[in-house]
């Protein structure tokens, strides 16, 4: 169960990535660990524990989707099939490095982009609200966020590649 400590950040990110509403993420991630514990005898030692627990989490998210009729941000199954089949390998101990790289990349952003990150993620404002505040269209804001995430992703990869011990 050292694995709980190692995998919990990645698992939470994974569950969130599937689009589960924020307040349910921790509950589902914890339940995934509990089920993993209950089914531990079925886990094949030597294989990827993180990928296994993510597969469990994915089923739990699908259950959440079926359970709740009201619209929430859970990706539809056809898209999940493409994105996560086979399940993503666990990032394991790389979580801290990725988070550190993200922080460094955020610090490099121009003021306008940093403001957009703050509004969307730290203040949790929907694109439409940001758009009304900034005198732009919601689509403009969504596209700007899309480009911003792409730039951050490239920056993170560049920084991770530059870390000592990187291949």
């Amino acid at each position: 169960m050292e694995q709980v400590r190692r995998e919990q950040a990645g698992l939470r990110a994974f569950v969130r990535m599937l689009g589960l509403r924020a307040e349910a993420v921790d509950d589902v991630a914890q339940e995934a660990f509990v089920i993993a514990y209950e089914k531990l005898q079925t886990f094949e030692r030597g294989t990827n524990f993180g990928a296994w627990v993510r597969t469990i989490a994915r089923f739990l998210v699908a259950r959440e989707r079926r359970r709740e009729e009201r619209r929430q941000r859970v990706l539809s199954e056809p898209i999940l099939e493409f994105l996560f089949d086979p399940p993503l390998a666990s990032a394991g101990g790389e979580d801290e490095a990725r988070a550190g790289a993200l922080r460094a990349c955020l610090a490099e952003l121009p003021e306008r982009s940093r403001r957009l990150v703050q509004q969307r993620y730290y203040e949790n404002l929907p694109p439409a609200v940001i758009a009304s505040q900034e005198g732009r269209t919601a689509n403009d804001v969504r596209q700007a966020l899309f480009r911003l995430r792409a730039a951050l992703h490239s920056c993170i990869l560049r920084r991770l590649d530059a870390l000592p011990g990187s291949p």
């Binding site: 990535m17 539809s76 994105l83 203040e123 899309f146 992703h153």
Partner: protein, 450 residues
């Protein structure tokens, strides 16, 4: 990440999907595109990963997560149906001792992980000290203790003591939030995704970067709790009063044990009095005074650190110095007289180029008087500490009283604040401290701009 160059409709669908605003038509369009363009899968996966990473960065990780998992597993493990199920499976496939050992190891590991998490706090609290003046020490509840801290020290969660009225320090959190402590302050802090500070004495000024909406920064004093999402504000935790001044943004303030709260907006001040249960009423931050004086005709109140003495014979009403803790390279007690200015009556005394401090002081021998002021900006934020030592060289009158006068704009900035706050002019004096090597009395004090 290789940026896709899809048609405008698909681009809009992709963006809506990542933002969680997609309609069924968007998802159908994206699913069709994913089948046709494998590169798009990587790009979309990267977008979703980044979105998740940013959300996680914004909301942080709960320190209790591992412990919660441990508790849930323990509950499952101790449930009778689970034990029966385990027993059946074990008898069928594995030896009992081996499974029991695995169970025990698992529980031990979960517990160990929880302990490890609490002890090491790997993604939890880490703050950097900056602009340290005087003696600053840190301790935590596991017995660690460090004193004589200097700029750049990295600290985990614990209690920071800024010892001495003239000492100060800044805690810089990883997200750039800066908490300035002045005036013999003590604060206990932690950050496990949500910043929690408990200010037990002194003054805390915070410049808070936007915090996750569901994890606002919480500042507690003996009688109040302040909830902050992102703003600049000051908290003065002294005696039975907590005063909160907001420079920018807004904070929510409530009395401990009272669910009612009040929103304190920019340029407002609220005072929480431990001895009153009246609703908290924010008020416009009062304008700074341009003149203040004290003749000590009545006993001094709690905002003074001084011993009041009534008129007696030829001696006028006066106050005598009391031991005051001051901090330099070492902390020491000095005879001193200190006064905080009432934040409700006024935000302090404004310092202009012509503002002077005057007084009548008596001591057994001619000596030097150290004048120290802690200042705020117009709406409450910290604006620097300033001081100067003057010689009480004027000849005494028949009763031994000497007069002194000093231009407050001429005060020198405390070295660590020299770059940030080089001049006292334009600031507002929040507290005034006079100290000397030997005991002294003061019969009159005045700050005025002639």
């Amino acid at each position: 990440m290789k940026r896709p160059q899809p048609d405008p409709e698909l681009r809009e669908s992709l963006a809506r999907l990542v933002e969680g605003e997609s309609e069924p038509a968007d998802e159908q369009r994206v699913a069709a595109a994913l089948r046709a363009e494998p590169e798009l899968t990587q790009a979309l996966r990267a977008q979703l990963e980044l979105d998740a990473l940013l959300r996680q960065e914004a909301t942080g990780l709960p320190g209790e997560f591992v412990e919660s998992v441990a508790q849930r597993i323990e509950a499952v493990r101790s449930a009778p149906e689970f034990s029966a199920r385990v027993a059946a499976k074990v008898s069928g496939r594995r030896s009992r001792w081996r499974y029991g050992l695995a169970l025990a190891a698992m529980v031990a590991l979960v517990a160990g992980a929880a302990v490890w998490w609490r002890a090491r706090d790997p993604r939890g609290t880490r703050v950097e000290l900056a602009q340290v003046a005087g003696v600053v020490s840190w301790s935590n509840d596991r017995g660690a203790w460090e004193s004589g801290l200097t700029d750049g020290a990295l600290l985990g969660g614990g209690t920071l003591s800024v010892e001495g009225e003239t000492s100060s320090a800044v805690l810089v959190f990883r997200d750039g939030t800066r908490v300035t402590l002045t005036g013999n302050a003590e604060v206990t802090f932690s950050d496990d995704g949500q910043k929690r500070l408990r200010c037990t004495r002194g003054t805390l000024t915070a410049n808070v970067t936007p915090q996750p909406r569901d994890r606002p920064m919480l500042v507690r004093t003996a009688n109040a709790e302040i909830e902050v999402v992102g703003t600049v504000f000051s908290v003065e935790a002294e005696l039975a009063l907590t005063s909160v001044s907001v420079e920018r943004g807004a904070v929510r303030v409530r009395r401990i044990d009272d669910p009612r709260s009040a929103l304190v907006a920019a340029e407002q001040v609220a005072v929480v009095d431990a001895e009153s249960d009246r609703p908290i009423t924010p008020r416009q931050t009062p304008a700074a005074r341009t003149r203040w004086q004290a003749a000590f005709e009545t006993p001094v109140d709690d905002r003074w650190s001084a011993l009041w003495r009534p008129a007696e014979g030829v001696d006028p009403h006066r106050v005598a110095a009391v031991p005051v803790l001051v901090g330099g390279k070492q902390k020491f007690l000095r005879p001193g007289v200190k006064v905080y200015f009432d934040p409700v009556a006024s935000s302090g005394v404004a310092v202009s180029s012509r503002t002077v401090l005057r007084g009548r002081v008596r001591s057994a021998e001619a000596q030097q008087l150290s004048v120290f002021v802690c200042t705020n900006g117009a709406n409450g934020g910290f604006a620097g500490n300033f001081g100067r030592v003057i010689a009480l060289s004027a000849p005494p009158d028949a009763a031994g009283w000497r007069e002194f006068e000093l231009g407050l704009a001429d005060l020198e900035p405390v070295p660590v604040w020299r770059d940030s706050f080089p001049r006292a002019e334009g600031t507002i004096v929040r507290f005034l401290l006079l100290t000397a090597l030997e005991g002294f009395e003061i019969a009159a004090l005045e700050i005025a701009a002639p």
